[in-house]
Amino acid sequence: MWFLGIIVAIGAWLILSYNSLVRLRNEVEGSWRQIDVQLKRRHDLIPNLVEAVKGYMQFERDTLTQVVEARGKAISATTQSARLDAENQLTTGLGRLLAVFENYPQLKADQNVMNLQEQLTTTENQLSFARQAYNDVVLQLNTKIQSFPTNIIANQFGFHAAEYFKIATEDQALPKVDLALGTPTPRA
């Protein structure tokens, strides 16, 4: 009688473990696609932004050119590494642009520019969080695949550890703190 109980228990564990592995693997795929979504948003945003600020930001001509070029490269890239390179260049260029917004007070008067700045800030943030979410769920999947007793069935059923998303080393110098909209309220 208790022998039957053990079989049922093992069966239940098998089902639960398998399902959680499937769920995690699908989350990893979904998170990866989410990164793509954010990258595309960024591509779509850039032409409008460059047009709007071109007239004001006389000293950022080089950065603006770099941004437009990097965007072109990212869209037309044929290999994953070329694409990643271009996207990283884009991140650097856009980060620089956002950082010097404060130097052009006339920009604040232009509502269109302000809206675009917000859109750009949130897109950069969402891209960063999408990558973070991807890495988080990869961590969960990999931990599950490597832990006992799930590791027994993981390989059998074709679940393999996923790779973390790594940014190029020069990008790690970029500040990750988001840029405040306007100045903070002075403390009493």
């Binding site: 949130t122 979410a133 990750k176 703190v177 306007g182």
Partner: protein, 326 residues
């Protein structure tokens, strides 16, 4: 930069363990009172060393309490929003757009659907989350929060609210409320029963059966429990609420990877004077900072802390600071 974020996972695990412990203690308390009362009244008896009968009163208290919470469960956030006089947050200004964007950002980091956004017309900076599960949830901010917080602080606050939704805190606190209500109901039954002569009736029944002295001792124990249980259950419920607040703080760091964000927000809020005008006691526990207390009341008195839905701001700030230097 955010160097200490590795420790937020340890904090989250510890907070979850604490919650489980507290809920277990609460269930034991509820069952002790319930079964004790059922035994006293006679719906549960000891026959030949086994339990017989059915704990009618315990189950009744649970059912009545559950009906109440089912109403609020399915009513979802609408009741709460109506109570707070909240209206949907429109993207009519860049600042409002920023709030909506930050909610999107936190939903991405939390890997959750995006909650609907609402706003309350109040100058006190505060926020709350409501809803029975992540797909049916709302985040409500005050106009004061929108005006006072910069983007980084907003991320910290909204990350905290997102955490409440992800961890089903609203549902947990609703269940706790059921238990608190159940305990209060049972305690009420017991004291009324004892007052209206139930004890005498019990004692004569005991003398006729072989339970005798044991019956008297149990009667006294149950009466004492009936008097103390409501206070204990409030204490436990508040302790659970505070534990979930700490957990939401740690989870906010998990999302933003930046303890500074929530830290600055809490310090900023700590300096504001006014309590929230539209918050009632019923929804007070849902806010990020206790809305019924002004800056002066948020001190660290021992008794005040035991009955508070939120941990003292000072302690929360301390824990966040520890995450930064870990």
């Amino acid at each position: 930069m955010a160097s200490g974020h590795a420790d937020f996972r340890a904090l989250e695990r510890a907070n979850r363990r604490q919650t489980v412990l507290l809920v277990v203690v609460f269930l034991i308390l509820f069952c002790a009172l319930g079964f004790g009362f059922d035994y006293l009244v006679g719906t549960v008896r000891v026959v030949d060393g086994n339990f017989a009968g059915f704990p009618v009163l315990t189950v009744a208290a649970l059912i009545i309490g559950s009906i109440q919470s089912l109403v609020s469960y399915f009513g979802g956030a609408s009741l709460v929003l109506a109570t707070a006089h909240a209206r949907p947050l429109a993207a009519d200004t860049t600042k409002h757009q920023m709030v909506l964007d930050v909610i999107h950002e936190m939903a991405l980091a939390a890997r959750m659907p995006v909650p609907r956004a609402y706003v309350i017309d109040d100058p006190a900076p505060n926020a709350f989350a409501s809803g029975r599960d992540p797909s049916h949830s709302v985040i409500c901010v005050t106009q004061g929060l929108i005006d006072e917080m910069d983007r980084e602080e907003m991320q910290g606050v909204l990350g905290h609210e997102m955490a409440h939704i992800r961890d089903y805190d609203i549902r947990t606190m609703t269940m706790i409320a059921v238990l608190v209500g159940g305990v209060a109901m049972l305690a009420d039954f017991v004291t009324r029963w004892a007052w209206f002569g139930g004890l005498g009736e019990r004692r004569s029944r005991d003398r006729d059966s072989d339970n005798g002295d044991a019956g008297a001792i149990i009667a006294i124990l149950v009466l004492v429990l009936a008097i103390l249980a409501p206070i204990f259950s409030q204490l436990i419920a508040m302790a659970v609420s505070r534990e979930r607040e700490y957990l939401a703080d740690a989870s906010s760091v998990e999302f933003t990877r930046n303890p500074q964000a929530l830290l600055r927000a809490l310090e900023h809020i700590a300096q504001t004077e006014s309590p929230l005008r539209k918050a009632s006691r019923g929804i007070a526990h849902l806010f990020i900072v206790n809305p019924l207390a002004g800056a002066g009341d948020r001190g660290e008195g021992f008794l005040a802390n035991l009955f508070s839905t939120h941990p003292p701001l000072g302690k929360r700030i301390e824990r966040l600071r520890a995450l930064m230097s870990a």
